[in-house]
Symmetry: C2
Subunit: 194 residues, 2 copies
């Protein structure tokens, strides 16, 4: 029963996954420059050299962490503009849903490293391709791009204030979760119709 976890089973894809998981965890909490490869390797229980060997370097590892995540694409779920505000509100507030939690984690990782020169290009491409693109297409109309930018801004802003500024009073003590979700739904709707 413990053979999978304790004993090292010389499996390339397994250690690759272990490195990827450890990297995800670190990049979630610090910026691209802050986290060291030796830290990641230590958390994954492997040697540092393997990272440069498997991913071609730190940059390649980061690219694979943020892009190759085989989780479902972020903005494919909502089918119409009408249900978009509600969907985004639940995405922001409801941390019970594990799937949404993972999608939000992607945003945090991107935010954390967005100011590191080497990581910023990777992130910008990803944002335009996976977020802004589908979002603009879904909204439609002549000012779709502007609307998408505003929604992304709110999304990013909440992420910043919550996880980086360490302020988590949105679904706080007295406020009900449902009430708070409604509040954000209203805010997203305002960004779309203002």
């Amino acid at each position: 029963m413990e053979r999978e976890t304790v004993i090292k089973k010389r499996d390339a894809v397994a250690t690759r996954a272990a490195i990827l998981a450890a990297a995800h965890q670190r990049f979630l909490r610090e910026s691209y420059d802050s986290v060291g490869l030796r830290d990641i390797a230590g958390a994954a229980g492997v040697d540092v050299a393997l990272i440069s060997r498997y991913f071609g370097g730190k940059e390649g590892l980061f690219r694979e962490v943020v892009s190759h995540e085989d989780k479902p694409k972020v903005f494919r779920e909502p089918k119409s503009v009408a249900e978009l505000p509600g969907y985004l509100a639940r995405l922001v507030i409801d941390d019970a849903d594990e799937d949404r939690e993972q999608r939000m984690e992607m945003f945090i990782i991107m935010l954390r490293s967005a100011s590191s020169p080497k990581a910023s290009e990777i992130i910008r491409d990803l944002v335009h391709l996976d977020v802004l693109g589908p979002l603009t297409e879904l909204i439609g109309g002549e000012q779709a791009e502007l609307r998408a930018n505003m929604l992304l801004a709110i999304l990013m802003g909440v992420g910043v204030v919550r996880t980086i500024m360490m302020v988590d009073d949105f679904a706080g003590s007295d406020a009900d979760v449902a009430e708070c979700t409604e509040r954000f739904r209203c805010l997203f709707a305002a960004a779309l119709t203002c």
Copy 2:
């Protein structure tokens, strides 16, 4: 006439200011970890050692850049909740006003380095003290803190999307500046009343 600019006039406060200005400029464009002291010193035209000497190290320099800026405090200008949305909208859109530009720069600097462990504490303190505090006090009421957080989130989000994600389509080509300002005024108002 060129004695002040070209000839080095062995002035401690002048070089201190030069270092501070150069540091401000660098921290505005990269993160705390990315920026090197030798780069700052080179831009200021002084030796690296002077930085650690005058500011007690990189951390001290950063703290002085973000806090000791003798510019007017960010959220003292608006007098009532009613004029808050308009004020914030102008703060975000109107980049002609140099004073507002400087206030927005502070936000960008804080955003850029917010994910670097050493800088994050400094920034969190500053945000709570200089932004969230006055904002909450101005809003008033039982949910003032929540409202302030939402406003800060939008503010930060726009900053992220604009300068880090390199998306600047808010006051873009076809949209008029006045029209866009009104849009953001409406959004901030929604965040306050939702």
